[in-house]
Symmetry: C2
Subunit: 330 residues, 2 copies
Amino acid sequence: MKMLINVAENVVADALRGMAAAHPELNVDVENRVILRRDAPVAGKVGLVSGGGSGHEPLHGGFVGPGMLSAACPGEVFTSPVPDQMVRAAAAVDSGAGVLFIVKNYTGDVLNFDMAAELAEDEGVRIAKVLVNDDVAVTDSLYTAGRRGTGATLFVEKIAGAAAEEGRPLEQVEAIARQVNESSRSFGVALSACSTPAKGSPTFDLPPGELELGIGIHGEPGRERRPMMTSGEIADFAVDAVLDDLNPTGPVLALVNGMGATPLLELYGFNAEVQRVLGERRVPVARTLVGNYVTSLDMAGASVTLCQVDEELLRLWDAPVSTAGLRWGM
Amino acid sequence: MKMLINVAENVVADALRGMAAAHPELNVDVENRVILRRDAPVAGKVGLVSGGGSGHEPLHGGFVGPGMLSAACPGEVFTSPVPDQMVRAAAAVDSGAGVLFIVKNYTGDVLNFDMAAELAEDEGVRIAKVLVNDDVAVTDSLYTAGRRGTGATLFVEKIAGAAAEEGRPLEQVEAIARQVNESSRSFGVALSACSTPAKGSPTFDLPPGELELGIGIHGEPGRERRPMMTSGEIADFAVDAVLDDLNPTGPVLALVNGMGATPLLELYGFNAEVQRVLGERRVPVARTLVGNYVTSLDMAGASVTLCQVDEELLRLWDAPVSTAGLRWGM
């Protein structure tokens, strides 16, 4: 696979330099690999720190800014960041109100954020943690005990970010983040594998004419492989997989997310089918977001995440946000 | 190529249905293929109408909203919309202040917008037109007499949109749009071909290990084909091609644009190299935008567009905009 890179070893550092140049409103510490709100710490405000392997952009660095994350820690491609990054981020964003770690459920991330929490607390920063584990495709996976964390991360970061922006205390921000995760489920499909810079070739083999149902965001295997399906058939399968597990009793937020290489034209068409299925299942949709938000490098495919919301979560979702990857109302 | 679609014939209609569902703030006329600001016509405001073949999303439909386009007319994939769409859009957005057509320089678009202008004027709508032709890669091409219109379209739509939002008269909005086009140049590279739904396979053959320099946004041939280059080498080539033609004497806006399938991680890394070259050439950069804005379906690659700005253009660039694809300050 041809890539728009210099050398594989430097892709993350190069990207951070490019991000710093494009976003003067951010404080990008290239050397230590931490992306910060420029105004951090914000007095009285709970800090929100997330992070994970690179290759899922705009997640997480593209979600740093007023109304969402205080800081993000990018690891190497598809590799957890190290505790030092998280401790540094926590110290930089803590105003005394404490810090919430938002952790996608992958073994490396969980271990490193756990270690970072201990170290940060030793330094006097109060830490809470929420684990995101929304992917219903598989129970355990190559890289996780339990469900993987995928698209719901965006909902958790946005809604908890809005709560923190309002000055809520750490316990409340944590509880809201937990509620969002527990109210969210995702299911993804891959039409092609992705290629990491280090490997330089597809991470798995997906024959022409087949798709993988229930794929993870690193190309982890899903539930099954089938002959290629139409957009409508995929929507039926993915939405039903989510609804079977979520059983929503009220309106939902819908994220129709591209894995990276699927054109927006196709994603919008897929959204039409997702909305059709939700209509048939009598699930009211409060808001819909379509685009490439939680990606898997150059993988073609899409995921559907639904989050059941009450009035309060919906209000927090609608609250202003100003980040590189998600922005409205300010 | 596998695609997330139902049938090739319906991709544009399906996408419009999906867009309508995701964006209640827009008025998407699926049957007549016009995407409108919901509040159009805005009293006293010049209307801005653009359009072109589908497959370049978010351009143009994703740029409809306050501060940018009043309406967009999507054609079939890589095919000009028809005059009826443009006439309908012009009539819908005209408040009496007239309408500016923003036309990318492709033969079909030029002919159809010309015909639409005559028809709309017959119906009493005052029409001005601006042709976008920023791509320095080739003088003529498969689909154009003269240079192709590519990334600068975003600058023209944003800056002229801000001028219209301020209530400037048609002649001034047209003059500003023309100034932006004349101050802008682009150059793109492809690492892979794109596949149209109708063809179902890559539109051209690009061997492993080679890239195409000076590619158009439909996979039209560029200047030359070379063995694969590093991100830094590509930035040197592309930025120099733009600067050789533009010769900026002041600060520029920089758009580092993905062609669709290149991960954001790579685009940010490429931006670091673009900024390096601009620094070496002593070109001050006022603002930088990195992302997938003027795409070519699932093509891998990137383009660089520079627009020299004075204080007034920069102020209009910074003005609030609220569209699906570009949003800040509101």
